[in-house]
């Protein structure tokens, strides 16, 4: 077996494979999916173990002795593997709380868009950074013990206008936007999802109701409920929390920025 081991956000894990090339590919996947937030550790110090078994016609993935997946197609396998790595780190970190959310910074404070997949996080984030916001993340809000949000600027996956039906991964540079470098406090939380006939009519929520609305997006909840809720409460206690359905982002991005300005600054 060949091995490497990383620590990321306090989570120590190793990856073993029977093939050296498969391990090299896995290392690139892990580094990429964790946006470089990895540091090499001694494999014996790892608390979790992925195993990638490569045969001539298939790939098998295990985590901590449990068979997770098999896939003959490299891209599908590595998508799955990358998702499991992200999930492992997000759900097991004891130092950081991971929320599923898009994050941008506006005038030095974060604007959070908690949402599930396919509810338009990337679209919203892309629209906001096109208007001058600083890019932090289109996937996770990573909150430290002080309640500050750390950047996790993975590439944004957007529709490729040159190739209809295709997607491409781009950095914030493609929007002529800056990328966040340091942890900052939360100014605004916007709980929204697209609805075809919706109007942008935000209602201001209390901190308690806002915290309740955020809970479904708290990936740290299952492993660390008390700590994660305490940290999120701390992080949003001075934030403005808004909730509304929204139409196409092009129709409301300016209104969102206006209201962020109005309430939070």
């Amino acid at each position: 077996m060949h091995s490497f081991a990383f620590e990321s956000y306090g989570v120590k894990f190793r990856v073993d494979s029977n093939r050296k090339r498969a391990l090299e590919r896995a290392r690139r996947v892990v580094t990429d999916v964790l946006v470089g937030h990895v540091s090499e550790i001694d494999p014996d110090a790892a608390e979790h173990r992925f195993v990638i078994r490569r045969t001539d016609d298939n790939r098998y993935l295990e985590l901590d002795g449990e068979h997770l997946n098999e896939n003959a197609i490299s891209r599908g396998f590595h998508h799955y593997f990358s998702a499991r790595v992200r999930l492992l780190v997000a759900s097991h970190s004891k130092e950081f709380v991971f929320l599923h959310a898009g994050v941008v910074a506006w005038k030095g404070k974060c604007v959070l868009f908690p949402a599930d997949s396919h509810e338009g996080k990337t679209t919203l984030v892309a629209a906001m950074i096109s208007q001058g916001a600083v890019y932090y993340s289109d996937d996770y809000a990573i909150i430290d013990s002080e309640g500050l949000v750390h950047p996790f600027p993975r590439k944004l996956s957007i529709r490729d206008r040159d190739r209809p039906g295709e997607w491409k991964d781009v950095t914030a540079d493609a929007f002529e936007a800056a990328t966040g470098r340091k942890p900052i406090p939360i100014g605004t939380v916007i709980i929204t999802r697209y609805s075809a006939d919706a109007e942008w009519k935000p209602a201001k929520l209390t901190t308690g109701l806002g915290l309740m609305e955020i809970i479904p997006f708290n990936i740290s909840l299952q492993k660390n409920p008390k700590y994660s809720l305490t940290i999120i409460r701390k992080a949003i206690q001075d934030a403005i929390i808004l909730k509304s359905l929204r139409p196409d982002v092009e129709l409301c991005v300016n209104e969102i920025l206006e209201i962020v300005d109005k309430y939070a600054f």
């Binding site: 499991r84 997000a90 491409k168 309740m212 809970i215 479904p216 990936i219 409460r233």
Partner: protein, 165 residues
């Protein structure tokens, strides 16, 4: 009758966050979050197993500076009970009555905000809230998924489906 009832909040399986005018309670057993408004929160804090309903009324009046009836307190207790936030066995005052009738009756007599508990179900596990990424579980590859670098196409993405996490 109410002098003999000593409501007690559940001791196990709850994560409680105290906020300035609210209480957030997350029920680990049911994966439900509950947000208690100020009035419900005052009653919640007083349900320690040593206070009768009449005692809770006094506590409420002392805390809020407003007069309330036992029915007002019972409205909160019934909601706490309905949401499984009290130890089992607490009687219900308004069992069988419509919520609208109860609110109407108490609301008209109340000068302060009625106790309200808002609730929401959180996902059972973290897999439900991570980005959708595809794999296949059947005999052949899911080519649609494999062709989309960012994850599943909308139609094949289901949080309950084993093909996506």
């Amino acid at each position: 009758m109410t002098d003999k009832i000593y409501p007690q909040i559940r001791k196990n399986g709850l994560v409680v966050q105290e906020l300035p005018d609210e209480v957030l309670v997350y029920d680990l057993d049911s994966s439900r979050a509950h947000c208690l408004n100020d009035s419900a929160a005052v009653v919640w804090r007083a349900c320690d197993g040593s206070n009768s309903v009449a005692d809770i009324v006094k506590t409420f009046e002392r805390t809020s500076g407003s007069k309330v009836t036992e029915d007002f307190v019972w409205l909160a207790i019934d909601q706490l009970n309905d949401n499984g936030l009290l130890e089992a066995g607490t009687a219900k005052r308004f069992a069988g009555q419509s919520r609208r009738d109860v609110l109407k009756k108490i609301g008209l007599a109340s000068m302060i905000a009625l106790p309200v508990i808002a609730s929401l179900v959180a996902p059972q596990n973290a897999l439900g809230s991570v980005s959708c990424q595809c794999t296949f579980t059947g005999p052949g590859p899911n080519l649609d998924c494999a062709a989309v670098p960012s994850g599943c196409p909308m139609n094949s993405c289901s949080q309950s489906a084993s093909v996506c996490i």
